[in-house]
C-alpha cells in the first residue's frame, strides 16, 4: 500500500498554477503554450502562469508546489481540430483516448496518475485540452486549433476566478 503522506496543503507555495504544456515547434502541440501566453496579464492575483515541455519531473514538481492547478495541453481524439475539453482530474484519471500523444515517453495522463499515486496531487486539478491534428516538427498551427486559443483562454480565466474564490473561502 502507498505510504501515507503528511498533509501537504500548508507547504504548497503557489495558490494556483496555470501550466501551458507543449512544444512550440510541433504544430498543434503548441496549443497549450499559446493559451498560457494568451492569459498573461489577465488572471487575478494568486494565479501564476508557467510553461512546461511536459517532462514528468517538471510537472510533478509544479503539482507538488501548488494548491490548485490548471494544465493546458493539446489533445488528439480524432475530433474536429479546435474542440476544447475540460476535465476535472482531482478525483479521476483523464480519459486515455484524449491525451494519447507524448513526445517524452511519459504522457500527461500517466504523469497525473503517478503524482496521484504518490500523494503529490494538488487539492484541485483541472486539465484543459485543445484538439489538434498535425503534430509534425515544424508544422504550423492548424486553423481550427488557432481559432480555439482565445475561447480556451476565456474558459480558463473563468475557471481560475472560481477556483481562487473557493480557495480563499
Amino acid at each position: 500500500m502507498p505510504r501515507e503522506t503528511p498533509d501537504r496543503d500548508t507547504t504548497r507555495r503557489e495558490r494556483l498554477t496555470v501550466v501551458g504544456i507543449g512544444n512550440p515547434d510541433r504544430g498543434d502541440d503548441a496549443a497549450g503554450i499559446l493559451v498560457a501566453r494568451a492569459l498573461a496579464g489577465r488572471l487575478p492575483p494568486g494565479a501564476t502562469i508557467v510553461e512546461s515541455p511536459g517532462d514528468v519531473t517538471d510537472l510533478v514538481t509544479i503539482l507538488e508546489r501548488s494548491r490548485c492547478a490548471v494544465l493546458i495541453d493539446a489533445a488528439q481524439s480524432e475530433a474536429e481540430p479546435g474542440t476544447v475539453y475540460r476535465f476535472d482530474a482531482t478525483k479521476e484519471p483523464l480519459p486515455a483516448e484524449y491525451f494519447r500523444c507524448s513526445t517524452h515517453a511519459f504522457g500527461l495522463g500517466q504523469t497525473i496518475e503517478l503524482a496521484r499515486t504518490i500523494g503529490l496531487l494538488p487539492r484541485r486539478l483541472f486539465v484543459c485540452g485543445i484538439e489538434g491534428r498535425d503534430f509534425s516538427i515544424g508544422a504550423p498551427l492548424s486553423d481550427g486549433t488557432r481559432a480555439a486559443i482565445d475561447a480556451a483562454a476565456s474558459m480558463i480565466h473563468d475557471l481560475v476566478e472560481k477556483l481562487l474564490q473557493e480557495d480563499s473561502g
Binding site: 502507498p2 515547434d25 517532462d55 514528468v56 519531473t57 517524452h104 503517478l114 499515486t117 504518490i118
Partner: protein, 445 residues
C-alpha cells in the same frame, strides 16, 4: 522487494503455428510494432516494424547556417537534446577547424552527465523496472513501491538541474553553441548543485544495488559491441570508434564502415558494420569496451550487482544503466569540484577556416550518435547526415527477438508477447529519434 506475478498469464499449450504481433508497443518513446511469425514450431520471421510521419531534418538543415545545427537537431529528441547538440557542435567545429578543450570541454562532459542521469533514470524506473517486477506500468508499480518512484523523481530532477544550470533549459536547451556556450557559470554558481549531487549519490548507489537484485531471463549472446572509446575516460563526447569485432576508426571514417540500408517494413534505416555485421550500441556496448575507465566505486558496484568484465545478456542493460548513472553522478561531482570558469564562453569559429566537412560522434544515453555536415565558406549547410543509435539498433533487436522466441517457444502466448516487448525495451529505443512508427499486432496462425 516484493514482486508481483506477471500481469498476463495463460495456461493453454502453445500452438505450433503462431504469429505474435503487438499493435502498439508500450513504454517506449514514439510508436512501434512487433511482428513474430512461427510456423511448425520454427521461428520464420521477427520484425520490428516502426513507422512515423517521416522527419526530414537532414533535408531541413540544408541551406541553414552552421550555427543553427545544434538548436535544430536538439528538437529531434525530447529526451536527449544534449546528445544531438554535442554531436552537432563537434561536427561543425571539425568542419571549421577548431577543437574545444579545458573548462569548456569539462562543461560539455558535465552537461552530458546531466542528460545521462535524466534519461537513464526515466527509462530504468518508469519504463523498464515495471517489466521486472511484473507491473503493467510505473503507476501500478508506484502503488506498492512509492519509495522507488520518489527516488527516481529525485534523481531525474538532479539530472534535469545539471542541464538547466549549464544549458538554460532541460528540454530544448538554449545555451549551447558551436564553439562552446553563450554563457558559462561562475564556480560559485555550481556549488549548490555539487552539494545536491553529493547528497544524491546514495540514491545512485542504491539504484545499482536494486537493479542487481532483479530476476533476469537466461539469455546470453555474443554481440559485436560498438562505442566511442577514449584512452583516459569513460566516453561521452570524444574518442575513437571501436568495436569488439576489431573496428578501430576515427569519426571521419564512420560512414565508410557503418553502412545504412532502407528496410521496407520500417521508415528507419538499418545499419551494419561493413555492410554485413549487426552490432549493439549503448550502455552494454560502452561497458564492454570501456569498463576499465569507470570509477572504482562504479566498477565495484557493478561487480556486486552481478556484472562481470563483459555483459552478454541484454536484459541486464538495466544494471548497466544504473552503473552509468552512478558514474555520471561521480563525474559531475568531480567536474564541479575542479571547475575553473573559462576566460571566454566560446572559442572563435570561422566557417571558412576549416576543411568544410566535419564529423561528430558522441555517446547519447542510448548509444553512439553520429553527425556529419558539409558547409560552404559562408557557413551555410550544404549537406547533413545523422545516424541515431536507435536506427543502429534495429537489426540487433530483430535478431534478439528471433533468438529469444526460438529459445522460449514453450512459453504461453501472453507471456511470450510480454517478453518480446521487454526484448525491445531492453534497448530503450527512442523511436521518435529514428523516425519510426512501430505497429504491434498479435496474430496467431
Amino acid at each position: 522487494m516484493n514482486r508481483k506475478k506477471p500481469v498476463k498469464t495463460h495456461k493453454a499449450r502453445p500452438k505450433k503455428n503462431r504469429t505474435v504481433k503487438v499493435g502498439a508497443l508500450a513504454r517506449v518513446e514514439g510508436e512501434g510494432a512487433l511482428y513474430v511469425n512461427i510456423r511448425n514450431n520454427t521461428v520464420k520471421d521477427a520484425k520490428l516494424q516502426i513507422y512515423e510521419p517521416p522527419r526530414f531534418f537532414e533535408a531541413f538543415l540544408r541551406g541553414r547556417r552552421f550555427t543553427e545545427a545544434p538548436d535544430i537537431t536538439a528538437r529531434i529528441c525530447g529526451i536527449c537534446p544534449i546528445a544531438y547538440q554535442m554531436s552537432a557542435c563537434h561536427a561543425m567545429e571539425m568542419a571549421c577547424g577548431v577543437k574545444i578543450d579545458g573548462p569548456l570541454r569539462d562543461l560539455r562532459r558535465l552537461i552530458y552527465c546531466g542528460e545521462w542521469i535524466e534519461s537513464h533514470v526515466l527509462h530504468m524506473y518508469m519504463l523498464h523496472l515495471p517489466d521486472f517486477l511484473g507491473y503493467e506500468s510505473a503507476i501500478h508499480m508506484a502503488r506498492e513501491h512509492p519509495d522507488e518512484v520518489n527516488r527516481a523523481l529525485r534523481m531525474k530532477k538532479l539530472g534535469n538541474e545539471i542541464v538547466e544550470v549549464i544549458a538554460g533549459r532541460s528540454i530544448h536547451p538554449v545555451n549551447v553553441r558551436v564553439g562552446g556556450f553563450y554563457r558559462v557559470p561562475k564556480a560559485k554558481e555550481l556549488e549548490p548543485l555539487g552539494e545536491k549531487l553529493k547528497k544524491g549519490l546514495k540514491d545512485a548507489v542504491e539504484t545499482v544495488r536494486l537493479m542487481g537484485t532483479l530476476d533476469f531471463p537466461d539469455f546470453e549472446r555474443e554481440y559485436e559491441c560498438l562505442s566511442v572509446c577514449h584512452d583516459n575516460e569513460y566516453p561521452l563526447n570524444e574518442g575513437r570508434i571501436k568495436s569488439t569485432g576489431g573496428l578501430d576508426i576515427g569519426a571521419t571514417e564512420f560512414l565508410d564502415h557503418v553502412i545504412e540500408e532502407h528496410m521496407q517494413h520500417s521508415t528507419s534505416l538499418h545499419a551494419r558494420i561493413d555492410g554485413e555485421r549487426i552490432y549493439m550500441v549503448g550502455p552494454i556496448a560502452r561497458y564492454n569496451l570501456n569498463r576499465s575507465a569507470l570509477s572504482r566505486r562504479s566498477r565495484e558496484a557493478a561487480g556486486k550487482a552481478g556484472l562481470g568484465p563483459m555483459c552478454r545478456n541484454p536484459f541486464k542493460s538495466i544494471i548497466v544503466r544504473a552503473v552509468e548513472t552512478l558514474y555520471a553522478f561521480e563525474e559531475a561531482i568531480r567536474i564541479i569540484d575542479e571547475y575553473v570558469m573559462p576566460d571566454k564562453p566560446a572559442v572563435d569559429v570561422d566557417p571558412a577556416a576549416g576543411p568544410g566537412t566535419g564529423h561528430g560522434c558522441t555517446e547519447a544515453p542510448r548509444g553512439t550518435l553520429y553527425h556529419r555536415y558539409t558547409i560552404d565558406p559562408e557557413g551555410l549547410i550544404l549537406d547533413a547526415t545523422i545516424v541515431p543509435p536507435t536506427a543502429q539498433h534495429q537489426p540487433v533487436i530483430e535478431s534478439d527477438l528471433f533468438r529469444f522466441v526460438e529459445r522460449n517457444m514453450a512459453l504461453p502466448d501472453a507471456k511470450l508477447q510480454w517478453r518480446c516487448e521487454q526484448v525491445i525495451r531492453n534497448y530503450d529505443p527512442c523511436i521518435s529519434c529514428s523516425c519510426h512508427f512501430l505497429k504491434l499486432h498479435i496474430q496467431r496462425s
